[in-house]
Amino acid sequence: MLPTRPPAVRPSDRPGSRLRGLLRLSTRRKTAALPLLAALSGFLALPSCAKRETAVDVGLRTATLEIGNTGEPGELDPHIINSAPDYQVVPALFEGLLNFEPATLAPTPGVAERWTISPDGLTYTFHLRPNAKWSNGDACTAADFLYSFRRALSPALGSQYTLLFHPVRGAADYASGKLTDFTAVGFAAPDPLTLVLTLAHPTPYLLGMIAGNPVWFPVHRATIERHGTIDQRGTGWTRAGHLVGNGAFLLTDWRPNQVIVAEKSPHYWDAARVRLQTLRFHAIDSLDAEERSFRAGQLHVAHLPPAKATALLAAKSPLLQITPGLNSAFINVNTTRPALHDARIRRALALALDLPRIAASVNSARMLPADGIIPPGMAGYTRAARLASDPATARTLLAAAGFPGGAGFPKLELSTATGGAHELAQAIQHSWRTELGVQIAIVNRESRTHWDQMHAKNYDLALAGWNADYPDASTFLDLWKSGGGWNFSQWNDARYDALLALAATALDPAARLAHLQAGEARLLEEMPVIPLSFDRFLRLVHPSVRGWPANSTDRPDYRPIWLAAP
């Protein structure tokens, strides 16, 4: 408006009057319009909300890693833990004699800075580093390890993994209560920085058993005894404020069903190399919810429903991290059932499955189709015999066994766990019907019942699997030894037992490998289990997370991780 001209404007043209006109609605019907306006302003404010710092951004600034941990850990006591969420937290709080290389699972120095093995393979001497400390500043010594091994093996404590001590002389007897004098067990500490293990028989994979396995972790004697006796469970010594660990991080807060917080420990011997300041483990029960939290910027690392991973894989998403796992999924075959007693029939059932095709349609991200029973990436093992789909041979074998075209074959049941692989089961059912003419019924059972039925040997066929306890082929092959506790197939084969016995005593790695290979070949020939797949671990990892050490045991090492803007 020109300043020289007199203001001959009509009232309605006055600046502000139009605005007042617009606002008339709100002055006239204040009550109705107010919420509307509030909602409108809220809506307009939304974009600025989205730009606000998320937990992931804050983490970047404060070196805090937000981790989705599937559920609430049951326990943080390294000798007692047994559920997946526990295994994500405990390695941050404690450190064993050895760590492992993520890619190869080869043992690396932990509390032990070096070790020697006697030529006969029976004596292992570990030299502990003098600067290893507990989170309260106490020195971590060989006596702590002796105390911890005694605790882990105490029958009253009831650790589920005492099996991992069995190569040590007398450990199995001490764990079962047959031996009560711990000094007779093959552990000794000649001086505070030396730990000597004496074995009952040579065990080439002993270091693999020790590396990163929580049951071998030390616990702080004074803390344990302040809260209870050596073999007492649930004394509360693992609560935040009580727990004293020797790991790179220190438990500072544990809010059940919400979050576990661990801060960098100043006393850790390698603290200079630890770049994260805080770890926050969120207990989120549902995979869907965890994935949504990740998308909302609340988590750096999250699990996701397997079905979603397939879509992300197809879209080549850089967020999806797929790690092959040291595990094997298979069908247990009850060889005492009349129709399944014949190895030809078991082979026919296995050969009729086109596993690559089934895996591709059921879940290509998660399932790596199996061509044997031992997963790839197993240290020191390469497969000699391979399983490949061959429906024509399968039909011939079935006919030779007396069921041409499946005629007269009894109706068997395939037991599955509820919420598990029902699509996989249906694909198997369909393959057997179309390829062999064999009809089976799928029986969904609640997970615990499903496993109880297998323990009771009260099943025909059952979907099952096994995770490696230590990186060696024997962790799988030993399952089907005659009379073994996990030999749900009830398959007893003298030749197989002999091969495993040879492998157990062989000192020469090449000879041992040959025996193990022959063992797997025998298994694939007789088929007391039908291999299905090797399952991969699926994770969403935010681009700001650097150095995440993916490994096939899914037990993370948080020390090398750092956060940097993507």
């Binding site: 095709r357 349609s361 029902h422 249906q426």
Partner: protein, 299 residues
């Protein structure tokens, strides 16, 4: 309808004109109700499609095509396929057979038990009534999914048993409704008249009292069917319902919900079908109540 009672005193005799039967009146009222008519028509269409569809489809409900996998709706597969390459349309229709059959059969079981139980309790009254109805109260207090699961565990799984098990927990409300109706009807004059004519108890209950409760019974029945179908969906969701490869709407919705982000059609179509059926049943139930409840009608 042979023994329609004198329903209203306003029945002025007009001998020339042919009187309408109760059923005919109800039918006329029902037809006037647009939502109820819609419910009836859509239910019939769904039922016929479920019965005939799987026979006419070129695909079998369990026929897999692993090479195809999950595919979006197309000319070959109108509603798409699931991850195992099975045609969703034929699985939806075959599953509908199960869901509708469970709904009807379980409701029939509930109806039979509930009506007889409630009528007996209400008619005889006194101590018998007290005992019978308190046992109903006790059964009410049991969480029924657990009761059904218990039955399944005890008797194994088969589809017939599923009908019976669901029916066996659904009759309680029906028994209460029927008892309440009997209590009020048995005090009416026409029952008095029947009794003075020397009719037996059974004849009075089934020929005179029961027909007068048809309205509430039919209404409650149409409301029970959706409830039962939801329960079947819930049991299938827990893995206790139908066994694979057979499908039911509950199974399809459960599977679809797991994959709704990648393959939305696996949830949308079964969900729509299920909701449509439930809505239709509820509309029809509402319409039937209005049509059959003579006392509340204006003509």
């Amino acid at each position: 309808m042979t023994s329609a009672p004198p329903t209203s005193p306003a029945a002025v005799p007009e001998p020339v004109e042919q009187g309408n039967s109760l059923w005919h009146d109800a039918w006329l009222r029902l037809r006037k109700n647009k939502l109820a008519t819609f419910g009836l028509v859509s239910l019939s269409v769904i039922a016929v499609a479920c019965l005939l569809g799987p026979l006419l489809s070129p695909y079998g409900y369990e026929e897999q095509n692993l090479d195809l996998g999950a595919s979006a709706p197309s000319a070959a597969h109108w509603l798409g396929t699931d991850t195992l390459g099975r045609d969703l349309l034929v699985r939806l229709l075959a599953g509908g057979r199960i869901s509708l059959a469970v709904g009807l059969a379980a409701t029939f079981v509930a109806l039979t038990i509930g009506v007889v139980y409630g009528a007996v309790a209400g008619f005889f009254g006194g101590k018998l009534d007290a005992v019978m109805m308190r046992s109903v109260d006790i059964m009410y207090s049991m969480p029924f999914p657990i009761f059904v699961i218990l039955l399944m565990v005890l008797f194994g799984r088969n589809i017939i048993l599923l009908f019976v098990a669901i029916g066996a927990v659904e009759w309680l409300t029906m028994a209460r409704i029927v008892r309440g109706q009997v209590l009020s009807i048995k005090k009416m004059e026409f029952i008095e008249a029947a009794r003075s004519l020397g009719l037996g108890r059974r004849r009075i209950i089934f020929r005179h009292i029961l027909p007068n409760m048809l309205g509430p019974i039919i209404v409650y029945t149409t409301l029970t069917i959706p409830g039962v179908m939801l329960l079947e969906a819930f049991l299938s969701f827990l893995g206790l319902g139908v066994q694979p490869p057979m499908s039911s709407w509950g199974v399809l919705i459960k599977d679809g919900a797991e994959k709704m982000e990648e393959f939305p059609w696996l949830l949308i179509f079964p969900g729509t079908m299920f909701s449509l059926t439930l809505f239709s049943l509820n509309f029809l139930g509402d319409g039937l109540r209005d049509a059959l409840d003579v006392r509340s009608s204006k003509d």
